[in-house]
Amino acid sequence: MTRTITGTDRLPVGALLSDTVVIARRNLTRTRRTPQTAVAAVTSPILFLVLMRLVFAGSIHVPATTYVDYLVPAMLIQNVVFGGLQSATGLALDVNAGLIDRFRSLPTPAAAPLAGRSVSDLALQLLAAVLATAAGIAVGFRFHAGALSCLLGAGLLILISLSLFWLFAALGIVTRNPETIQSTTPVFFLFLFVSNAFIPVATLPRWLQGFAGNQPVSVFNSALRALTQGPGVALALGHDTTYLVIATVAWCAGIAVVSAAATLRFYKRM
């Protein structure tokens, strides 16, 4: 009959990091044992890329570069968005299975189950990016910028994935339903297609150009093109590399801060 308080109000400093690793490993074990979804997610960009290259390369002309060089960076960004939808679905399934409730009742930081998901899904996205790039190279894609610039591009891609994750995490936590998440796909298609991903913005109707040229997906596409194809390509597309990198980082920071705050709030109050 003691009233001793065995609990502690503050979790140890390393808890977020170690629990993120625990959850990420769990997700990756899951993926290894039930690889169907992941295999589809990782291979579909290859198919998409090769098809786009074969079908459109002859008819779409882009300034200062070849169509396949223009296309591959955009495919990598598209990967991140599709990967994000998978993350949202994965979280929704965890909510439905009662696992999120389990995690929430344990002395683990609220951010750990979410951060763990972002890390495991980033790993899958990077695998998809490597495969898509390799497929791109097979159909004519080349890096035309220096190694350092390309590495910066890879770093930027990781930043974009980790930032957008929180947006998709909010979607997964709030909807808790894979079908509802599926039904939001058109919104993401809007951002992917009304952009500079597959065509130069100048070919769009004038009233669409403002949105299409400046929305985040286009900024991300341009930044990756600039870093992998060289500053000349970036300038031909309308912006210098520095501007594009800063704009990308700013979009990422904005999206991450707002949606991570919202996601954690939902998570704690769900």
Binding site: I5, D9, R10, L11, L99, D101, L106, P107, A112
Partner: protein, 331 residues
């Protein structure tokens, strides 16, 4: 009951979801080392209360403490002393039993080595060692449920919260779970469980709290609650259903209220105070009238009877059968 130092203290807790009131000023206490059963029909507020105790929900009003810790002000501290097994077995189907336990143990802040050791111990206690390295999706429902309870045990919680632990289990698996839970209690764990099965509360609980519409209906030990009813239920089966009305008229003199007639089974049931020796009297009355009796049984009040009587859910004249609330509740 002596509850000078309740390990769970709930005072005036309220919780609404939109316009639905889930908990309406509920107060109750659980003594350390006890098994407390929270009994109530669907929508009574049982799950809401468990979720508040597990820090998953914040109450709108009232005070809730677990091991003396306020669940609203210090949720992280509460999480270190509780284990939760919710309504569905919250284990990862693709992981093995062992992997599930180690994961949860790590999140209980055990080191990797400690987590492995604790998981091994729990697997042994759950008799799951031989299945430990199989994916959970190959487990039976009973094994999955045991693993789920086990996952909440790897952190050695002082208080185990179980929301309808035997839902979906076959009778054998349910008995297995009960004996496992009794073992835990013997080692000093306090258990709060919700159930719709009166039998479960009767088997396991030291204290039963009946709630409905988010408020306390009655509480006490199973024995106290049954004693409070003060009657026996007599069931008489006749050889000839045609004699049912006549028999019912005869038995009316013994019964507290008019007897219930089940025409299909040719049965009559009625309640009477034990002092009236209703069983021999009934047999004598029917015998004298020349009515052939197939079978007669006297039943001490069950928790079913308590439940039905306090919630007022017995439809007049219906036999209060012992198979759960769902049947007795009007749709």
């Amino acid at each position: 009951m002596q509850m000078s130092e309740p390990i769970i203290g709930i005072a005036g807790v309220r919780k609404s979801f939109g316009r639905t009131t889930a908990l309406d000023g509920l107060s109750m206490q659980v003594a350390e080392g006890a098994v407390a059963a929270l009994l109530g029909p669907n929508g009574a507020g049982k799950t809401t209360l468990v979720r508040i105790l597990a820090t998953l929900l914040v109450p709108d009003a009232g005070q809730v403490t677990v091991a003396g810790i306020d669940v609203v002000r210090r949720p992280v501290a509460v999480r270190g002393v509780i284990g939760l097994a919710g309504q569905h077995a919250a284990v990862d189907q693709t992981l093995t039993g062992r992997e599930n336990l180690v994961m949860v143990a790590r999140l209980y802040r055990l080191s990797a080595a400690q987590a492995r050791r604790r998981s091994e111990e729990v697997l042994e206690r759950l008799s799951l060692t031989s299945a430990a390295d199989r994916p959970v999706r190959t487990y039976s429902g009973g094994m999955r449920r045991r693993l789920d309870v086990g996952a909440s045990l790897v952190g050695q919680p002082r208080i185990l919260l179980l929301d309808e632990p035997s839902t979906g289990l076959d009778p054998a698996a349910r008995l297995e779970l009960w004996s496992f839970l009794r073992g835990l209690v013997a080692q000093g764990t306090t258990i709060l469980l919700t159930t719709q099965q009166l039998e479960e509360a009767d088997h396991l609980a030291d204290a039963v709290t009946i709630i409905d519409h988010g408020a306390l209906v009655t509480e006490g030990t199973p024995a106290q609650l049954k004693a409070g009813l003060g009657y026996e239920t007599i069931e008489v089966a006749l050889a000839d259903p045609a004699q049912l009305p006549q028999a019912a008229r005869l038995l009316e003199s013994l019964a507290e209220e008019s007897p219930g007639i089940d025409g299909l089974a040719a049965r009559i049931s009625f309640r009477a105070p034990p002092a009236a020796k209703p069983l021999p009297s009934a047999v004598r009355l029917l015998d004298r009238a020349g009515i052939a009796v197939e079978d007669v049984t006297a039943r001490r009040p069950s928790l079913d009877d308590v439940f039905l009587s306090v919630l007022g859910r017995t439809a007049g004249g219906e036999i209060p059968a012992g198979d759960g609330i769902a049947d007795a509740r009007p749709a």
